[in-house]
C-alpha cells in the first residue's frame, strides 16, 4: 500500500478570475476525493464552476485566473505547489484532459500521427519508430478504421466523432492514472455520443484509469458515473453515489434539475422548471447560492452558507432544508 489515502484529493479549492468589474470566485471551496478506477461525475449548469475545477487540477487556467487557496493532492503530493516544469511532466503522464470541441483542441497544421507522437515523445522514452508504433497502437485501440492512413491525415479530414477518438488516443497514450473529460460528447450527435461513451467505458476497463466526467447532461452522468458531485455557483451542493443523487436527491437544486427534464413516466406531464435565472457570479448572495431561486428557502438560507450535512454514508448535501425541523424549532416560529 502506498502512503496516500486517495489517488486525487481536492481540498477546499478556491479559484478566481480578475476581470474589469472585480473578482469572480468561479470555484469556492470545492473538495472531493477520487480513487483509482472510479468514475466521478461533476454536473452543473454553465457558470457553475465545473470546468474551472477541472482546469484548476491541470493548472491550465486563463491568464487572469489563479488558485487562491486549497490543496490538490495527487498521490499525497500537493501539486498546487509545483512549478511549471513539474506540471508539464504531470500533464499527460499522470492526468490527461479531453475537451468539448475536438476541432479547436487539435492543431490544424500537424498530422494526427504527429500530434499523438508528440505526447509520447514528451512523456516516455519511446522515440522514432517505437513512438510511431505506439501511436498506431493507440489509434487502433480507440477504434479508428484504417489507422495507418489516419496517422498521415490532418484533423480537418476527420469527422467530429473521429477527432474525439484521436483526442482520447492522445490523452491515453502515456497511460495516465486519471482522465478528465470536459463535456467530451456535447458537440457530438447522439449516435456518435453513444460510440464515444461506449469507448470510454471499454478503455476504462482495459486500462483501469479513473475518470472525472464534467458535463451538464444528466443522461451521460447516469450512464457513466459511480459517484456524482452537483455544483451550483462555484460550490458543491450535493455529492453521493449515482443512485443516491438520482433516486434520493436532498438539495433543492438537484431536485429542481431532475424535475425539469422530461423523462420516462413523467414524459407527457408538464415540466416543473426552476424559477429565475442563473446567478450572477459578481453578485453572489450572502447565504446559499441557490436561495434566490429556491421555493423552500427559509430565513437562514439568506444569511448563512449551508454546511455539508450527512444524509447517509454515501450521500452529503449542503442544504438547510434537510434539518428544517431543527432550524424552525430553534427559531421558534413557522417558516416564512
Amino acid at each position: 500500500m502506498d502512503n496516500y489515502e486517495h489517488l486525487l484529493s481536492v481540498q477546499d479549492l478556491q479559484t478566481s478570475f480578475t476581470i474589469d468589474s472585480g473578482e469572480v470566485q468561479a470555484v469556492n471551496g470545492v473538495s472531493f476525493n477520487l480513487d483509482a478506477g472510479k468514475v466521478l461525475g461533476i454536473v452543473g449548469e454553465s457558470g457553475s464552476g465545473k470546468s474551472v475545477t477541472a482546469y484548476s487540477i491541470m493548472q491550465i487556467l486563463a491568464d487572469n485566473g489563479s488558485i487562491k487557496s486549497g490543496t490538490i493532492l495527487y498521490k499525497g503530493e500537493d501539486i498546487t505547489k509545483w512549478n511549471e516544469k513539474q506540471m508539464s511532466s504531470f500533464r499527460g503522464k499522470c492526468v490527461s484532459i479531453i475537451f468539448q470541441d475536438p476541432m479547436t483542441s487539435l492543431n490544424p497544421v500537424f498530422t494526427v500521427g504527429n500530434q499523438i507522437k508528440e505526447a509520447i515523445v514528451l512523456h516516455t522514452d519511446k522515440r522514432g519508430k517505437e513512438a510511431e508504433a505506439r501511436a498506431l497502437e493507440m489509434l487502433t485501440l480507440v477504434g479508428i478504421n484504417e489507422p495507418e492512413k489516419r496517422l498521415k491525415q490532418y484533423p480537418f479530414e476527420l469527422s467530429g466523432g473521429m477527432r474525439q477518438r484521436v483526442m482520447i488516443a492522445m490523452a491515453l497514450a502515456c497511460e495516465p492514472d486519471i482522465l478528465i473529460a470536459d463535456e467530451p460528447t456535447t458537440a457530438l450527435d447522439v449516435t456518435i455520443q453513444a460510440q464515444i461513451l461506449e469507448l470510454m467505458q471499454d478503455l476504462q476497463k482495459k486500462m483501469g484509469m479513473a475518470i472525472i466526467m464534467v458535463t451538464h447532461d444528466l443522461g451521460v452522468i447516469a450512464e457513466m458515473c459511480d459517484e456524482i458531485i452537483v455544483m451550483y455557483g462555484g460550490r458543491v451542493c450535493e455529492r453521493g453515489t449515482a443512485d443516491e443523487i438520482f433516486y434520493n436527491p436532498r438539495h433543492e437544486y438537484t431536485k429542481g434539475l431532475l424535475r425539469s427534464i422530461p423523462e420516462g413516466s413523467r414524459m407527457k406531464e408538464r415540466l416543473v422548471p426552476i424559477a429565475g435565472t442563473p446567478i450572477n457570479m459578481l453578485r453572489m448572495p450572502k447565504g446559499c447560492a441557490f436561495c434566490p431561486r429556491c421555493d423552500a428557502a427559509m430565513k437562514i438560507c439568506l444569511e448563512e452558507i449551508p454546511e455539508e450535512i450527512w444524509i447517509n454514508e454515501n450521500h452529503k448535501a449542503s442544504c438547510w432544508c434537510n434539518i428544517r425541523d431543527q432550524i424552525l424549532a430553534g427559531e421558534g416560529k413557522t417558516n416564512e
Binding site: 449516435t191 453513444a194 447532461d217 447516469a222 423523462e263 414524459m267 408538464r270 426552476i274
Partner: protein, 319 residues
Amino acid sequence: MSDNILEVEHLKQYFPIRTGFFETKPLKAVDDVSFSIKPGETLGLVGESGCGKTTVGRSIIRIYKPTDGKVTFDGEEITDKNILKIRRKMQMVFQDPYSSLNPRMTVEDIIGEPLDVHKMYKTRAERREKVLSLMETVGLKPDHASRYAHEFSGGQRQRIGIARALAVDPKFIICDEPVSALDVSIQAQVINMFEDLQKELGVAYLFIAHDLLVVQHISNRIAVMYLGHMVELADANELMDNPVHPYTESLLSAVPIPDPKIARAKQRIVLEGDVPSPLNMPTGCPFRTRCRYATEECAARCPELTDRGNGHLVACLNK
C-alpha cells in the same frame, strides 16, 4: 379543401457545391420529403446534424428557394410572390438567441419590426401597446422594452425571439432548435411557455430539435430524418415505444437516459462508423451502409414511406 394547415409534398432542396474549376455537384440536403401538419398540432422533427432538418424548416418559409416540390399553407401554395403574405401567418424561432437578435435594436424595435413590415398599426402608441402586451405574454417586464439584447440572459433572449415571432399573430411557427442553447433549468421554462402559447393561441409548431426527450415531451407526432430523407413518421409515443426503422431504433437506444438503473440495464445498439457525406450518397436506401439488416435489395432501390397502420409511416424494405 384539406384540414391541414401545412402540406409539404416532395420537397427537394439541393445546393450546388463546386467540386472542380467548372464542375458543380448537387448536395441533396433534402430529398423528396412529404408531410403535413394540422392546426394546433406539434410535429417534432429529429435527426443528427447534417440530416436536413433545419433545411426543411428554412425551405418551407423560403429562406431558401426549394429546388422542387410543393408547399401548401392554409390551402394556398407558397410561391415567391405570396411569401410576404404567408409570413404574416407563418413565423420562425431560431436556435441561437445571440446571433438572431440585432444588437443595435432595442427590445421594443426587435419585437415591433414584424409589425412594421406588415403595417399592422396606425399610431406609434398602438405599436407600443402591442409590443408591451407581447412582452407580457412571454413573461418579460415592461421596463425591458428600452433595453438592448446583450443585457439579457439566454433564456430571456429566446423569449424576445418568441415574442417577435408571435407579433403577427401567426397560425404556425417553425421552431429551429429553440431550446438547445439553453441550460436545463431554463429549457423547462421555455418549453412550458411554448405549450402554454399553443393552448392559448392554437398555434401549430414544427419543432426541430436533436434532443429526443424534449421532442417526445412536446410533440404530438415525430418525424425522423436521415441524410435528407424522412425514414419514419408516427405518433410521438408510438414512435418512442415501437420504433420500426433500424435508424430510429438505434437513435433511441443511443439517448442517454437520466436514470442510472435503466441506463445500466439498457442494451445500446451502437451504430458503426459515421454518417456518409451527402455529396457522396450511397445508392438505394441512404442508411444501408450502417444498417445491420441491409440486403442487396437495399442498394438497388430507395424505400418509400409506407403506412404500417395507424398512420405509422416507415421507409424500410426489411422491417
